[in-house]
Amino acid sequence: MNKRLSQKIFFTLFRLISLMIVIVLFSILGFIIFNGAKSISWHFLTQMPTDGMTKGGIFPAIVGTLILVLGSMIFAFPVGVAAAIYMNEYVKEGPVKRFMRLMTSNLAGVPSIVFGLFGMALFVNQLHFGDSIIAGSLTLGLLALPVVIRTTEEALKQVDDSFRLASIGLGATKLQTIGKVTLPIAFPNIITGLILSIGRVSGETAPILFTVAAYFLPKLPHSIFDQVMALPYHLYVIATSGTNITESRPIAYGTALVLISIVLICNITASVIRNVLGKRNK
């Protein structure tokens, strides 16, 4: 009886805690939607900011964020997948592999502001890219790299060895096996990781702070050496150091809503892709 009672108490406790996590998420969402929904309009999404960013839209920030996400993935995806292939398919278990894993984990643990400073030192100053899309994309790409590596490695690990053996047994080289069997089977999970890291990258502020983000730039970029506005930085600017913080508050909430929507859409797309493509492999 006593055991049963303590079981009940603990399960109730666990349930409440789980519920709380859901409540926290919904509170944040609800708060943002409640305050931001009235700012959202076609005009808001497609116009330049005006009147010292207290009026107008956030179009350049949306475009800027999309460009930065794309740019960072163009860099992080091939590099991360290649690194994961090397680590999972080529390196044998041992000190080298353990060391590389540890370094990947450490890279994931580096604070994003440090990435920002590093990106500024290397890309902006040393390589003379200046504050630019390319510098910001590479910095964000570095930040996304450990996520891409780890999710790809997990995806490859889940591919049953019997498929690799079957391919090798038919005389395929290791490279052919990876290209024609292992990667296609792991693909849904790799893409899932990619989309999750897009969600992560699109919300980062610190790495773009010193590398690309413009305070106010009401036009679209012409080349990868131009600066852009970006949603998270724009939000920071109008919430803390804009020309008129009170007046631009609705725009801040609207921006937050757009940003959080992008992240949520990424996460939902990721799980849909995993389900659809995953089923096809069954």
Binding site: D160, F163, L165, S167, I168, G169, L170, G171, N281, K282
Partner: protein, 251 residues
């Protein structure tokens, strides 16, 4: 007549473990040889010597000669990918790729650079017929290989191995994951395949060894204890340990 396959004083070590101890073996072309023995006796390891699959295991060291058509394949300068194209392998668990039935059989051809549709279609059909699967799947070649039954999957894996036209086929307990009806279909198939191929089959099933093979080799703790015509092994074994094993007294 030179034997199709032969080993001379074959020694195999997994690190410090001496897994195969001086195996002298030979089998003629167009025969089926069954390798029997208790788990861990080295029969699967021996089988994998013929397509150098043991290379994939860290710390595995093979000494002695392994000859296929008189050529020693235990040579570190040998191109193992080329070897594996000539030596087909069927695994314990059916392991078709999550691709269509057609693409599974075509896989070995495609990695050989054959991409012409007509040739692929011809060869896939031929391999599926040889594997006695054609009639069951000919209208569903585009269907996922994962959607057919386990027995059909294993015959598909056999077709996949045959499509590249190997001369030697290695089978590692090919029916251990199958139901009795599928098992008998695969056994019948093995019997027919011997016309064109030389087959080595590892099995835990004594009746299966007796039904499908011409010769049987009994392995025990890394040694080949007895090797003879299957009928001799099962009716008149020369060595007591063999007799104890086939009558089920141990193993």
């Amino acid at each position: 007549m030179t034997p199709k396959i032969e080993t001379k004083n074959l020694q195999l070590y997994y690190g410090a473990h001496h897994a195969l101890k001086g195996i002298d073996f030979s089998a003629n072309a167009n025969t089926v040889t069954a390798l029997i023995g208790p788990s861990g006796c080295g029969k699967s390891t021996f089988l994998r010597c013929f397509n150098r699959m043991n290379d994939l295991i860290d710390g595995c060291d093979v000494e002695g000669q392994i000859l296929i058509d008189g050529m020693n394949i235990n040579d570190r300068y040998l191109n193992v990918d080329e070897l594996r194209k000539k030596v087909g392998m069927v695994f314990q668990k059916p392991n078709p790729f999550p691709k269509s039935i057609f693409e599974n059989v075509a896989y070995g051809l495609r990695i050989n650079g054959i991409n012409e549709k007509k040739i692929l279609e011809e060869k896939v059909e031929k391999a599926l017929k040889q594997a006695a699967l054609w009639e069951e799947v000919k209208d569903n070649l585009k269907k996922s290989a994962m959607s057919i039954s386990g027995g059909q999957q294993q015959r598909l894996c056999i077709a996949r191995a045959l499509a590249v036209e190997p001369s030697l086929v290695l089978m590692d307990e090919p029916t251990s994951a199958l139901d009795p009806i599928s098992t008998s279909k695969v056994e019948e198939l093995i019997y027919q395949l011997k016309e064109k191929y030389t087959i080595l089959i590892v099995t835990h099933n004594m009746q299966q060894a007796a039904r499908v093979s011409d010769k049987t080799a009994f392995f025990y703790i890394g040694e080949m204890i007895e090797y003879n015509d299957t009928t001799e092994i099962f009716t008149n074994p020369k060595i007591e340990r063999t007799q104890n094993y086939i009558t089920g007294r141990f193993g």
